[in-house]
């Protein structure tokens, strides 16, 4: 692996510059920095790695725990805090955390009220959480889980990846837990938020895998990739770059068809940058999403625009719609105080 700050140039690909010490210490160094940036809010534990709320465990509160590969910052560690996650387990880059991490995080943060896991629908994530859950069940812990599978670009329903809805489900489950509801109620509301959400993504460029020091795939000057995941994996369909109004119309139409979004429905829209796309562009995307909603008479109740679930330095965005009801809206609006999401406090 490269020990230099400027990564080695691989044949046939452009040199990529990164502010790192070495490819194999990227996750560790970032975690140490994160710990020092938010000392009052979270505790960062190492070997096995996990991040837990500074005030955990909270008696009589369901613990909400998530985890996933690193490289998606601020997800998941940035959502640890009051009103959202109790703990998060960061894996290696684009690699799910291990059962040891999940068990250690759970033992530190869970009370008698039990634990709800929020798991993105990837084979690796599911298997590692399943192994941890099997262990906890033999110990008599109350455990529930919600699998987030909102990416409509996946080829079949059971293969749908977890995308932007993960943030929304974590926020809503965390708000419910903060109010002191039971594990069953937390799980119900989290699953409802998941069922009412759909996402789709578009990439303008691939991301740079630190260990490879080059792009995960190549796109031509005027090419875009529709249906990308958040792991630098290529998408479902290659298309030609078009004005964003046209692109958003296509993507929102696909989301609405899949979700069955109709005139008068109330929604939350998340416009999520994948890492290298400017805020300016995300606002332009959002402007078109809002216009699309107005044209279709879909009520845009709430929105979130920014980098919330990135894919290293990939350029592009994901769009998520969540159909809201009164309870989901109330939970979305509830106070939250985490490194990456903060309001009402």
């Amino acid at each position: 692996m490269s020990d230099t700050v400027v990564a080695q140039m691989a044949p046939g690909s452009a040199q990529v510059k990164m502010l790192i010490n070495a490819a194999d210490t990227v996750v560790s160094d970032a975690l140490e920095g994160f710990a020092q940036a938010y000392p009052g809010m979270v505790r960062v534990m190492r070997d096995p790695d996990y991040v837990v709320r500074a005030d955990a465990p909270l008696p009589q509160r369901v613990a909400i725990i998530s985890g996933g590969g690193s490289g998606h910052e601020p997800m998941h560690v940035g959502y640890v805090g009051r009103g959202m996650l109790t703990a998060a387990c960061p894996g290696a880059i684009f690699t799910s955390p291990t059962p040891d991490q999940i068990l250690a995080a759970t033992r530190v943060s869970a009370s008698q009220a039990g634990v709800l896991y929020i798991i993105k629908n990837y084979a690796g994530d599911r298997m590692n959480f399943e192994i941890a859950i099997e262990t906890l069940l033999t110990e008599g812990m109350s455990v529930a889980s919600v699998v987030v599978a909102d990416d409509i670009a996946s080829p079949s329903r059971d293969l749908r990846r977890g995308a932007g809805a993960t943030i929304i489900v974590e926020k809503i489950a965390g708000a419910a837990a903060e109010m002191g509801v039971s594990l069953a109620e937390c799980a119900e509301v989290a699953r409802r938020a998941e069922r009412q959400s759909r996402s789709v993504g578009v990439a303008l460029s691939a991301c740079t895998i630190p260990a490879l020091a080059r792009s995960s795939f190549h796109l031509g000057d005027d090419e875009i990739e529709i249906g990308i995941g958040i792991h630098g994996e290529v998408g479902r369909q290659r298309a030609t770059l078009a004005p964003v109004a046209q692109l958003v119309d296509h993507l929102c139409g696909a989301l609405a068809d899949d979700l069955g979004l109709r005139e008068g429905d109330r929604t939350l829209a998340l416009i999520n940058g994948l890492g290298a796309t400017t805020r300016m562009e995300l606002y332009i995307v959002f402007c078109e999403v809002a216009r699309w909603c107005a044209t279709r008479r879909v009520v845009l109740e709430r929105s979130l625009v920014g980098n919330y679930m990135t894919s290293l330095d990939m350029a592009g965005c994901t769009i998520t719609f969540t159909r809201l009801d009164d309870e989901l809206l109330q939970l979305w609006d509830a106070p939250v105080c985490t490194p990456a999401l903060r309001w009402g406090v």
């Binding site: 290696a92 690699t95 084979a123 996946s154 293969l159 995960s216 249906g227 995941g229």
Partner: protein, 221 residues
């Protein structure tokens, strides 16, 4: 021929060495149809296994395989960690307390390891996964032992079946794992999990002869 604790330790050391040697290639294969981490993750896991082997010289074969499985589970992550971890742990449970094993024991251990992968991964053959390399190898080994072939012969024919199974993943369209998201675009690329399974199988063969040479190295298609 009897397989001893010593053989098993050497198998694991060779598996770790082969994974290290081919880590970049495995990650490259995973870049094309996955998320570019297979070699990096497995190398981290098997390196952690090697560190633990010294303390296990006096252990039994079951314990060594169980510790190997636990270590892979704790260090690899992704899908490969649970799949290989479960496989080694199941084999370890079957061989608990044993200090020597023969061909029939190995066939039985491979069988439970295979079942572990199928259950944990909810995977079937033909989905372009490690199973497509491992399953034909286990079947070939079992039938060779049942026909009274020597351990060496059985292992060599099993390795050939694993290699054939690995190459057979190239024309397959993935329906499991990250590659499945690509749909038809996954066709034409060799599965990284099947490739790592092949290197681990290489480490099992010829334990009393030469290490496998680079002629086994797989070129990216």
């Amino acid at each position: 021929m009897q397989i001893t604790v010593d053989h098993v330790i050497r198998f694991l050391e060779r598996a770790a060495a082969l994974i290290r040697e081919h880590a970049t290639e495995l990650t490259e294969l995973d870049t094309v149809i996955g998320d570019a981490d297979h070699g990096t993750n497995l190398n981290r896991g098997f390196s952690a296994v090697v560190v633990k082997l010294d303390a296990l010289q006096d252990g039994d074969i079951g314990t060594i395989l169980d510790v190997t499985g636990k270590t892979l589970l704790a260090t690899v992550g992704g899908a490969a960690g649970p799949l290989y971890g479960t496989a080694f742990r199941r084999a370890g449970a079957l061989l608990a307390g044993r200090r020597t094993i023969d061909g029939a024991d190995i066939a039985a251990a491979l069988e439970v390891a295979l079942e572990g992968i199928i259950e944990r991964g909810r995977v079937q053959r033909g989905e372009k996964t490690m199973l497509d390399a491992i399953a034909p190898g286990v079947e070939t080994f079992r039938s060779a032992i049942a026909q009274g072939k020597s351990l060496e012969e059985a292992a060599r024919s099993a390795l050939a079946a694993v290699e054939e199974g690995m190459r057979a993943t190239i024309p397959m369209q993935a329906t499991k794992g990250r590659a499945a998201f690509l749909g038809p675009r996954s066709i034409g690329h060799q599965d990284p999990g099947a490739t790592s399974a092949y290197y681990i199988a290489c480490a099992m063969v010829g334990l009393d002869i030469d290490p496998p040479s680079d002629q086994h190295a797989v070129q990216q298609s």
